[in-house]
Amino acid sequence: MKNNNFKLLSLGLITGIINGLFGSGGGMIIVPALGYFLGLKEYKAHATAISIILPITIISTIVYFLSNSISIATSLFVMAGSLLGSYIGAKSLKKIPSKILSKAFGCVIIYTALRMIFQ
């Protein structure tokens, strides 16, 4: 049980550091980890991950805000688009097979990553 506590705390710690450091990406760690360590099914892992990332994100937002790293006006524009986009996505895009999707995204993400590194 002690061992388990240590695992859970470390898992949270790593997720928090990544999510704070990169302003994103916590889900990439915690979703597979919830499946792997706690045996959650994928849909439950996704849902539960949000309940873990939300408080982490709120704390990170506060730290960013206090160091003047957040532009509220810009955020509101992006947020308007994003909320509309999630609505459209939820209504229309469930049928694309996820295997093809993740391969296509993998390629796009790798290309983008190289541009970010070598810009």
Binding site: L13, G23, L54, S60, Y64, S71, R115, M116
Partner: protein, 117 residues
């Protein structure tokens, strides 16, 4: 207008189970000349309302399994403070490169992961 479109696109993508930030942050940096730290900040703010809406829905449908959440979140909040303080201290070009390296890992993972169901 460009900002709204970038938001729209990343919102659509995030519904497909791939983190919206992975698309949103590079789009803001590469297409809109926004600083890396600012882009990360925007992503944090944008995540909050959609996460609240998603949580309400998931909670109604009984998809949450939160019995281990307390410990994970305690670790998580500590990590979040450390990570965020680091992010605000790291020089712009370096932060962008580190983000790129992280992104590269995410891309390779997406490419080679096996689908669970």
């Amino acid at each position: 207008m460009k900002l709204i479109l970038i938001g729209l696109f990343s919102g659509i993508i995030s519904g497909m189970g791939i983190g919206g930030g992975v698309i949103l942050i590079p789009s803001l940096v590469l297409l809109s000349n926004i600083e890396q730290i600012q882009a990360q900040g925007i992503n944090l703010v944008v995540f909050i309302p959609s996460a609240v809406i998603a949580l309400i829905t998931h909670n109604k449908e009984g998809n949450l399994d939160s019995k281990h959440n307390k410990k994970i979140i305690i670790g998580g909040l500590t990590g979040a403070i450390i990570g965020s303080l680091l992010a605000t201290q790291i020089e712009e070009n370096n932060l962008r490169s580190y983000f790129g390296i992280f992104l590269l890992g995410v891309g390779i993972y997406e490419l080679f992961k096996k689908n669970r169901s």
